[in-house]
């Protein structure tokens, strides 16, 4: 399948690189917006260890600038909070792994994490969602994620 190698390389780069590379080099779409929100947040989690075990990865279909892959990837991450607490997360990434091509570069736009499509577990809010709660305080919801 023409271009299959580029798709697989982009997918492997995404799994191997996170969370230590600029997200715009591996992700796109709402998933990128969501990750950038958290990476721009001071005092949040600092990554310590990241490992991705790609057990299986293959292209299912490639149509124009969209590619759909089957995969089985286990990720293990270790993080530190600003208070010094260490957190460990284990995730399993499965199909559908979706990539899109823009400017001749493939980027991951969706996948299933622990059985849930990532794009269906996040919600991004625009500035219209800001709420004045009184007393000079304004709250702006930025994003919501339903996670396991």
């Amino acid at each position: 399948m023409q271009g299959e190698g580029d798709v697989l390389a982009a997918a492997r780069r995404c799994f191997a690189a996170r969370p230590n590379v600029p997200p715009e080099t591996i992700l796109a779409g709402p998933l990128l917006d969501y990750v950038e929100l958290f990476e721009g947040m001071s005092g949040f989690l600092q990554p310590l260890i990241w490992n991705a075990n790609v057990r299986m990865l293959r292209v299912q279909s490639l149509m124009g600038d969209a590619a759909f892959c089957d995969c089985d990837v286990v990720t293990v991450g270790s993080y530190a909070t600003a208070a010094g607490t260490r957190l460990r997360s284990v995730g399993r990434v499965t199909a559908p792994l979706v990539l899109e091509r823009a400017h001749n570069e493939w980027r991951v736009v969706d996948y299933a994490l622990n059985g849930r499509r990532v794009l269906r577990t996040i919600r991004l809010y625009d500035s219209g969602a800001a709420v004045h709660v009184g007393g000079g305080v304004t709250l702006q919801p930025r994003a919501l994620e339903l996670a396991t």
């Binding site: 005092g43 849930r116 269906r120 919600r123 000079g136 709250l139 702006q140 919801p141 930025r142």
Partner: protein, 103 residues
């Protein structure tokens, strides 16, 4: 994740964020799930801070709208205030949050 803009003249902190849970408190068939925070929990006057609010909900999510009860503390002089924040999760007809949770 939410941003908090402090338009007051005093330092402001988000102290508590609760969401309705599942369980029993005395005669009431419900409980509160309290959040764990990460990020800028305290914000100086005139600044905007961003904070991650994490709930562990012991119930299947069947709602399209999550509602959080927030409690703020202002310093010097100290005072408390509360607010409710509605968090619409899904605006699409299907699937609902419940469907996501059972995938």
């Amino acid at each position: 994740m939410l941003s908090m803009t402090n338009g007051t003249a005093r330092e402001l902190g988000i102290e508590q964020a609760a969401m309705q849970g599942k369980g029993r408190i005395g005669p009431w068939l419900r409980s509160r799930e309290y959040a764990v925070f990460s990020g800028e929990r305290w914000v100086s006057p005139g600044r905007t801070g961003t904070i991650a609010v994490i709930w562990s909900l012991g119930l299947p999510l069947t709602l399209r709208m999550l509602r959080a009860e927030l409690r703020f503390r202002q310093l010097d002089p100290e005072s408390l205030s509360t607010a409710e924040l509605a968090l619409p999760f899904s605006t699409a007809p299907e699937p609902t949050v419940a469907a996501y949770a059972t995938l």
